[in-house]
Amino acid sequence: MSSRLPTWLRYALQGLAYAAFAVVIGYFSTSPQYRLRADNDAVLKLSFSHSAQLQHACRERSVEELAKISPHMRNKLDCPRERAVVRIELDMDGKPLFQISTPPGGLHKDGAATVYRRLPIPAGAHQFQARLADGPDGAINFSKEIRVDLAPGQILIVDFLTGSGGFVFTQS
């Protein structure tokens, strides 16, 4: 049969158990520190949502084709909803940093193409060139070049807004 501990020792050990519980809770509520980036890194966030051009141009339906369609739906023009793939290329200091081709969203591929990427880059002065192709032919139709100086930890946001004329580089 296990021997009983002296009362004072039991109380001391109980206090120790409560203290250990508190220390575990207190410590792991803030520690250990988690490293988010290298000391001399900045962050580039490429994020946009863009509706590309239509993949196919409108065409006129033939008489035979129109005849097969219900009378109330006989539109002479056939305009497919599918949009083109958006291709984006981002160079830093003349070297490719990131490129991606993003299909349009939606079940009928008629939605916006979206991109979100978080890329660590060295802090300091950099020359960026961003290019975007959103037509069916795949030709680059938007381009912007910019020089930025990034401090460690600073975030450079690369967005694409058609209303603002294309690429928008933002740094706080």
Binding site: M1, S2, R4, L5, R10, L13, Q14, A17, Y18, A19, F21, A22, V24, I25, G26, F28, S29, T30, S31, P32, Q33, Y34, R35, L36, R37, A38, D39, V43, K45, S47, S49, G105, T114, Y116, R118, P152, G153, Q154, I155, I157, D159, T170, Q171, S172
Partner: protein, 519 residues
């Protein structure tokens, strides 16, 4: 699998035993993990209600709200904020320990499947509630976590590709965000409370609250922690900068380092796999030997006293209108889906007394695998077969340990599914059959495999619960030992009982029982 289960059980037994030595068994925190977790939930909700009254749900005011509490000169704000945060952290910590302990004890199968399965979504709700609570502070940690969570969510093919865009710039965010987050934070906490209610629905007399001493100790520890190790905000959220290092609340934000290390899709897969594994555990097949028939009511012997209803630990017995011609208004009815086949109802039935003058006694509620007549016959045979002096009968619980090794010429060992299955009159009956003493050995106190067996045995023998051990019964010849797997402790108890009985001039006393009464 069996080896792993055995190892986990040994670890649990070791920890339980260690805590039993430091705390009284009834106050063992290792045994009250679920209740302690619930206490922390209530503490977090209560402190959160006050904190909400002081919180400004705006982009510009959220951070300042945290600072105001943090810098309160009367330390009340520090206490409130610390208690809220640390009790939420302790809730997660204790919930995980509770899960681990119940898993180690195999409490995911059988009638416990419902409690097990309903506990899984509680963990998800707890995580969501905790993470959103950390966002409300809107400091550097909050914007990191909210962005990282959005990036993690974006990995799901749910059309949520641009969630993280909401946090790209300070201008992208408006006050509505905090209204939404506080709605989720409070809503999840309330759902958690409701979820806990569902979690214990199939448990009779659930231990929702820890013993008062443990409750006080836990709350004092958290309050002292809040005052001595204050919760502080990091710098204000800055969408334009990423700090090199950040202090994380690892109880909730562990997911972000995981995503960084393994990638968002892999962490989703891990989360799904873990959920599936936990959800599938109740489907593990119980070995055929262990599958026992459920309790059956014998109407001819059921007088509708409802003691079995009061004692069933899983709410498997209910009183229903009489279906026979008896004058008793109601009868017991067993829900086989809820019955754990522990036999505690047999121990509670007044018809289970072995003193009845019929050859094949039948109880009002019976375990088909071990009818009361068989128990009486076995006791008679085992005691009759003893050849030594100072005969002792050891009534052992199968869930605790196999005690057949203690059988000898003077000691008869009779195993029961649960110590609570034994009607107390059997103890007196054993002494009438020539036993100088009777020992009941079961799971560790408060750790009955069938939840309430030890409590009912104690109360029945002390005369505090029906069916009571008769006042005239020789209590000094009865010992109770809650030894769990510690066979040596049972052996020692038998020796002590024999020594007392052979040396004491007067009543020898019941060492084990008296010890419990002192506790």
């Amino acid at each position: 699998m069996a080896a792993l289960s055995q190892s986990l059980r040994v670890v649990d037994e070791t920890l339980t035993s260690a805590f039993d030595r430091v705390f009284a068994p009834a106050h063992n925190p290792w045994r009250h993990l679920g209740a302690l977790a619930f206490l922390c939930l209530v503490a977090a909700v209560a402190s959160g209600i006050v904190a909400y009254a002081l919180y400004d749900t705006s982009v510009s005011g959220a951070y300042e709200s945290g600072l105001r509490l943090q810098n309160d000169s009367l330390l009340l704000g520090r206490l409130l904020r610390g208690l809220h945060r640390y009790s939420a952290d302790a809730f997660m910590f204790l919930s995980l320990l509770h899960l681990a302990r119940e898993a180690a004890r195999g409490h995911f199968r059988g009638v416990r499947w419902f409690s097990w399965l309903t506990g899984i979504p509680l963990l998800c709700m707890l995580w969501i509630s905790g993470v959103t609570g950390l966002w409300l502070l809107w400091d550097a940690r909050a914007i990191f976590s909210v962005t990282a969570t959005a990036e993690w969510l974006q990995a799901l093919p749910l059309g949520s590709d641009l969630l993280a865009r909401n946090f790209l710039t300070a201008e992208a965010l408006n006050d509505r965000f905090f209204s939404l987050i506080i709605f989720i934070h409070i809503g999840m906490s309330l759902l958690l409370l409701a979820g806990v209610w569902v979690h214990v629905q199939r448990v009779s007399q659930p231990r929702m609250w820890p013993p008062r001493a443990l409750m006080t100790g836990c709350l004092v520890a958290l309050a002292l922690l809040a005052l001595m190790w204050p919760v502080t905000s990091l710098g204000p959220a800055d969408a334009g900068r990423v700090p090199a290092q950040i202090s994380l609340d690892w109880f909730y934000l562990f997911v972000h380092p995981l995503v960084d290390a393994f990638g968002a899709p892999m962490v989703w897969l891990l989360a799904a796999a873990l959920t599936l594994v936990l959800g599938a555990l109740p489907m593990l097949r119980v070995p055929r030997k262990a599958a026992r028939a459920v309790a059956q009511v014998d109407l001819a012997n059921c007088n509708g006293c409802s003691r079995c209803v009061a004692d069933c630990p899983f709410g498997a017995v209910a009183m229903v209108a009489r279906t026979d011609q008896s004058h008793h208004p109601s009868q017991a009815s067993v829900n086989s889906d809820l019955c754990a086949s522990c036999g505690i109802c047999v121990g509670s039935c007044p018809s289970s007394t072995p003193f009845r003058h019929i050859v094949d006694i039948v109880s009002g509620i019976e375990m088909p695998d071990e009818p009361i007549a068989t128990l009486r016959r076995t006791l008679q045979q085992k005691l009759g077969a003893l050849t030594g002096r100072e005969k002792v009968v050891l009534l052992s619980c199968r869930q605790a340990a196999d005690l057949q090794s203690l059988a000898d010429a003077s000691t008869a060992v009779m195993a029961l599914e649960c110590a609570g299955m034994l009607p107390p009159s059997f103890l007196e009956y054993a002494t009438r059959l020539g036993a100088v003493g009777a020992v009941i050995a079961g799971c560790r106190e408060g750790d009955c495999e069938y939840r309430l067996g030890d409590q009912w045995v104690r109360e029945r023998i002390l005369g505090a619960r029906e069916p009571r051990l008769r006042a005239a019964a020789p209590r000094d010849r009865i010992a109770v030992v809650w030894s769990g797997r510690d066979i040596a402790q049972v052996h020692d108890t038998i020796l002590i009982l024999r020594n007392h009985l052979s040396t004491a001039a007067g009543p020898a006393g019941n060492a084990a029982l008296k010890e419990q009464q002192h506790e």
